[in-house]
Symmetry: C2
Subunit: 179 residues, 2 copies
DNA sequence: CACAATTAAATTGTGTACAACTAAATGGCC
DNA sequence: GGCCATTTAGTTGTACACAATTTAATTGTG
């Protein structure tokens, strides 16, 4: 078995037996349960999104992270890898090979900056810039796939961003590292 | 550069220039913009969660997906790989190596079922079952890290699950596969 | 100017995700 | 009983993520 078959892939929100026994002890089990719901739901939604993008972006020969890089370049023009990483919250370990694949696909070029030999400038090629035309229909198809109203999407986004900020701050606070 | 440093890692919700020009043309750019927000926010939140779990679970020697597998086993008892996949929405390509790593860590055993030689039963070892005790504090620490009220978490979860369902359905409809 | 600290990319290694494929076992159906 | 479709795991190959390390360039300081 493999691929896209989850025979029992019932709703992501099965809400199993409402609670083993709302009154009975097991407050710890409850917590383990709840916790699974939040992060798991998030994770599942993220992967589901990825699945839809995978289907839609296949025509363009892009993966979702590659599409994100191009979105940034289309919006802001050529950028060094560092800036891309800041915008996308990705580090060089992820971006270096990813950008190389975009280069191999003929969508961008990479060259060290003249002022600062440490920096690598990522530039859209004509082909990479042209791809934007074909990408214009992607957002509409994605929005349609969610079946959400724009307002609801916005609200969800606001919460997610707030969550991300809180989690980032907590990770820093929690980290044992020097601060 | 690598690791956890995003020097410009400003808020995930910077809400840049509210809009290049709310009235001006560029409805397509707007869409490209918006779309990035939804899926990107989701993706960022998911990775941020992962980061917090990574820190908290390091003591237990677990990754987040491994923790999810154990959560399911703690809750439902021993299960075949298939059932694990249904609960977690993961296929054998992901679960096979993951479960093997749990086995290597001495937390579970894998053995083919007697009734059905195709099926592989994943069983908690004493050590795996015992780890639950140490995991009990994880949810509380995670909940604290989000800084969210329980009610808000629940609401968010409900939306995410609805989103996942919609996206799964859309992926099926969008897929070129035989139907 | 010299030199330590910092910075930007790249590299290495581990661990998911997932598509595509393989192999073995099971279940109908004639 | 023989045979084919289905089911369950596992394998292979590609592509992220990210920690840790490495290399080269730059900067700050005395």
């Amino acid at each position: 078995m493999a691929g896209k078959s989850y025979p029992g892939a019932m709703s992501a929100s099965p809400t199993p037996p409402p609670t083993p026994s709302a009154t009975e002890a097991a407050p710890d089990s409850e917590w383990l349960r709840l916790d699974r719901q939040i992060c798991f739901s998030l994770n599942a939604a993220s992967r589901a999104f990825n699945g839809v993008y995978r289907v839609i972006l296949k025509d363009l020969g892009l993966t979702y992270p590659q599409y994100l890089v191009l979105l940034v370049l289309w919006e802001h023009g050529d950028l060094p890898v560092k800036k891309l990483g800041e915008r996308l919250r990705l580090d060089s370990g992820t971006l270096s090979p990813l950008v190389k694949r975009l280069e191999a696909a003929g969508l961008v070029t990479r060259e060290r900056s003249a002022h600062d030999e440490r920096s690598v400038q990522v530039r859209l090629t004509g082909q990479g810039a042209a791809l934007r035309e074909r990408a214009l229909e992607v957002p509409r198809r994605i929005a349609a796939a969610t079946g959400f109203e724009l307002a609801e999407i916005g609200e969800l986004r606001e919460r997610l961003d707030r969550l991300t900020d809180a989690l980032d701050a907590a990770a820093l606070a929690e980290a044992p590292g020097p601060r």
